[in-house]
Amino acid sequence: TVGAVALDQEGNLAVATSTGGIEGQQKGRVGDSPVLGGGTYAANEACAVSCTGDGEVILRGALAHEVYALVKYKGLTASEACREALHLRAEDLKGDKGFIAIDKDGNVAVESNTNIMRCAYRIGDEQPFVAVWR
């Protein structure tokens, strides 16, 4: 799964997520990526979020919307919200979860418990950051 979240100079947020699914998956299986609120969500008043990991777990937790709700209603930053969503009902929602997010103030977040998280970000004119985390 790949994804991007962005904040433009007008203060608008957007998200896109795309996936080739999982190796050997059931034909017709839908993971989190194309499900709005599951693996993809954006709203200007809060944040934009894209998820990767175990799609079924992310779907059951509605984790992209969870991050949005934590930013909007609890006043957390994108990073704080992703960390909290990562541990949401950990016993019931066991599995790989990865988030990228950006909030309306331009705070970026990358949080994950996956084996590998390949990510990158760039804020304004600052130097780009690229990482393959294990």
């Binding site: 608008n12 947020l13 957007a14 997520t17 950006i102």
Partner: protein, 168 residues
Amino acid sequence: MKTYAIVIHGGAVTMDPSKLSPEEEAAQRHGLQESLQAGWEILHRGGSALDAVEAAVQSLENNEHFNAGRGSSLNMQGEVQMDAAIMDGRTLNAGAVNSVRYVKNPVSLARMVMEKSEHVYIAGDGATEFALQHGLTMEAVHYFETEKARKEWLEIIQEEEKQPQEHD
């Protein structure tokens, strides 16, 4: 100038860190840089967040080192089957597609669904027909399949065949 920023993630089929070769990691880092640059340039010039995320994801879909578009995983039947979604935080408009084949950039199809249809979500053959109606670029099956994905798929299938059959 107001704040602008972009974040991307790029999953690949390999989830076992020990199987990630230095060459593959270097290729993935390069792909991440290209994708980031594609999105950042749009934001830097004053373009929209929506255009930026589409461009960044298109770049990853076109790169065989990531699990989307070219380089997608293969389903049980050994076929590529892709999903994508896009959402505009300004309007809460959204578009999504699932189980599409042949469409070079599923993220652009998702955007087309958002902007050119009355719907939010179109699946399977309907999504493919919608892509054809709107002139999106299509590719043959072999464009999407990589040697790496085929090899990992074969390993999974062979492993399943080793399991004892518990039904007629």
